[in-house]
């Protein structure tokens, strides 16, 4: 009896192993987030024809494969940010050959000696570290060692529905959006906006995807000057600055100026449907929103603008940035051929970084930032200032990914009113310190 049960799976297994065809190409595994969109872009090999992070990276990888017939790319798409899987893979001695990693996560892996330094490979890529922009270079450099090849530098931005701004009279004589210069002005504008349009002024993540609230909080903290992380083992949230930020965020929410009950997907959808004035989202959406601004059916038609998060506190001009990079996890079973193929892949990405910058991200290379081609892309002059004032969280801070979730959870609990501000700040600091002191 059990034999009959066994026969089928065994036959299936045999059939499966038999159908693996012979293939002499060198195989490299490329692991990335940015989503899966094979259905729409699986056959596109010209990145110029693609839009958005997912579309462009899919097309770029397709193009690389088309141009390098001796290399087979196994594309492993993981859900954002993918570190749970990567950690599992490294623990199991089966990491990918190259993998996307935030600048803020590199120090964690570097500290455990899990990544290959790539400084000595730069010549093979036709690069020197001086080719990177300062922010990109800082993002991949740990203790003077280049640990990855930067893809971009990104920042949270304010994406603006200019059509609604016009309705609310929040545009100047040249038709540019008027940005608040203080928290009081923010609330004033918000009031005017809601009055005129009946829609919320501010579209922000309030539930589930907690990186959003965390980033808004960190930006406002940075705008007040003093560092949030005085040293590698301590966070300093529970102070007057923290209270001021959370009180402001609470005022925005309680005053009815913000959307409610929205996760990240709902945010993007709400903005595209013209359901609010300002969306807090990253550089990666600029390309897609600009495309919507050229679509007569879109509520954003001829009505999209984008700005760095405006300075509303008393500190120096600053913007929070992070970056995406390719890194190469250590793997004793990687052959020299595979390593060489992986380097060719990295070289291809370095050479074609302009395509990636079309998403809205800042290019990681000086020559592209300086090029007329990039500067000629829409909206870039409105946000280019970030390449000068952008600052990451200090790279001595480990575990930034889980800390982002902790901070985001407490921030959203505070501004939605689920938890008193003082308690949220206390818990945020205690939980963050717990993580910072756990290793």
């Amino acid at each position: 009896m059990p034999l009959r049960y066994l026969a089928f799976p065994l036959a299936a297994l045999a059939a499966l192993s038999a159908c693996g065809e012979r293939d002499d190409r060198t195989e490299i595994t490329v692991q990335r987030f940015f989503g899966a969109c094979q259905a729409e872009y699986g056959d596109v090999i010209d990145p110029q024809e693609a839009e958005g992070e997912c579309g462009i990276i899919t097309a770029m990888i397709n193009q690389f494969e088309a141009e390098n017939p001796d290399i087979k790319v196994v594309e492993n798409t993981v859900f954002w940010p993918g570190y749970d899987q990567l950690t599992s893979q490294i623990a199991a001695n089966g990491p990918p050959d190259v993998v996307t990693m935030h600048s803020s996560a590199i120090p964690d892996y570097e500290a455990r000696d899990l990544l290959e330094p790539l400084g000595e490979d730069l010549p093979a890529l036709g690069l020197t570290a001086d080719d990177f922009t300062a922010a990109a270079r800082a993002g991949v450099t740990v203790d003077g060692e280049v640990m990855g090849i930067p893809i971009d530098v990104w920042a949270p931005l304010w994406h603006i529905n200019l059509n609604l701004f016009r309705e609310a009279g929040l545009v100047d004589s040249q038709g540019r959006p008027i940005m608040p210069r203080s928290t009081e002005e923010f609330l004033e504008h918000a009031d005017r906006f809601v009055e005129a349009t009946g829609k919320p002024y501010f579209i922000q993540v309030t539930t589930k995807d907690l990186a959003g609230p965390s980033r808004i909080f960190q930006v406002y903290m940075m705008q007040q000057g003093d560092p949030v992380f005085p040293d590698p083992r301590h966070a300093d949230f529970d102070n007057a600055r923290g209270r001021e930020v959370l009180k402001f965020m609470r005022d925005v929410y309680a005053g009815g100026y913000s959307v409610r009950d929205q996760d990240y997907a709902a945010n993007v959808s709400a903005f595209l449907r013209g359901m609010g004035g300002i969306l807090v989202d990253g550089t990666w959406m600029v390309g897609q929103f600009d495309a919507a601004a050229h679509d007569p059916d879109s509520p954003l038609y001829q009505g999209y603008a984008v700005r760095p998060v405006p300075m509303m506190f008393d500190g120096p001009p600053v913007s929070l940035v992070d970056g995406h990079n390719w890194v190469m996890p250590r793997d004793s079973s990687r052959t020299p051929e595979e390593r060489a193929a992986a380097l060719r892949f990295l070289r291809f990405f370095a050479e074609n970084d302009f395509q990636w910058a079309r998403t809205g991200h800042f290019p990681a290379y000086r020559r592209i930032i300086d090029s007329a081609q990039w500067q000629g892309l829409p909206h870039r002059d409105d946000i280019a200032i970030i390449t000068e004032i952008g600052q990451p969280l200090p790279n001595y801070v480990r575990r930034q990914a889980p800390i982002e979730l902790i901070v985001g959870e407490e921030v959203s609990a505070a501004f939605t009113g689920a938890k008193p501000i003082d308690a949220a700040l206390r818990d945020m600091e205690r939980r963050t310190n717990d993580v910072l002191q756990s290793f």
């Binding site: 623990a91 455990r112 309030t206 589930k208 929205q262 575990r399 939605t416 938890k419 290793f439």
Partner: protein, 296 residues
Amino acid sequence: MLASQQGRRSTWDRWSGMLFVAPYLLLFVLMLVVPLVIGFRLSLTRGDLFGIREEVGFANYGRLFADPVFIQVIWNTLYFVVLTVPAFAVLGLLLALALNQQSRWAAVLRAIFFASTVLSVTVVTLIWRLVLLPEQGLAAVLANAIGAEPVAFLSSQATAMPAIAVTTIWWGIGLPMVLFLAALQQVPRDLYEAAALDGASRWRTLRSITLPSIKRTMVLVIIVEIILQFQLFGQAQLLTNGGPNNSTRPIVLFIYEAGWKQWQLGYAAAAAQILFAMIAIAAMAQYYVSSRRDAA
């Protein structure tokens, strides 16, 4: 006589029976006992998935009980168990009572109530997310249709866990229903005939014949559901990610986050031991209570 028989048996005879159980026992040791020992051992250390860094004794356990997030997580888990297990028992029984008949219609309904059980957790959460979404979800669409204000179930502390519980009950109601149906069919028919002759009311028949006869199944359902629901993970991870304000984070999600996101494997392993202890205690308590009542 037993002794003399054994004396005659060769060593092969004595041990050959072992061959039948050996393959399973090997897996039992390899996949259950060894990992249990590894897990306990890790709970006494500080380290990440890449290796142990130092021995810390029982410090992780001390930290856990001083960690308000973990305490909250235990309450969340218990709350979820309290929301779901009685519902499974009561609704499962009601459905079984209503559908314990041989009509074609009852068969169709039985099939419907069990159908969602075969779906995987990711499909279930996908479905329910599209029911519960505050603007685009089915609940909101229906609320708008009757002119009511849609509720954002998953982003309010008061409704998030109940929403996850409803999702879970929708997913798993088939199992208790079927178990009760099986039990109902084994109740001796002459008991009912006697009751009918006595002119006992429907309610009385239920109380004095049906319920006592399916007591064992009731205990089985409760124990099985306690063990299952203590292990809540996928629904919470995929629907709310533990929020809002840590109100839906169950122990298993806590373990996953500590081990895989925060790289605190020892801490995660200690939390896993506590989950183990809680399930064992809950199941044994339930068993103890029910067997005492049996004896009384």
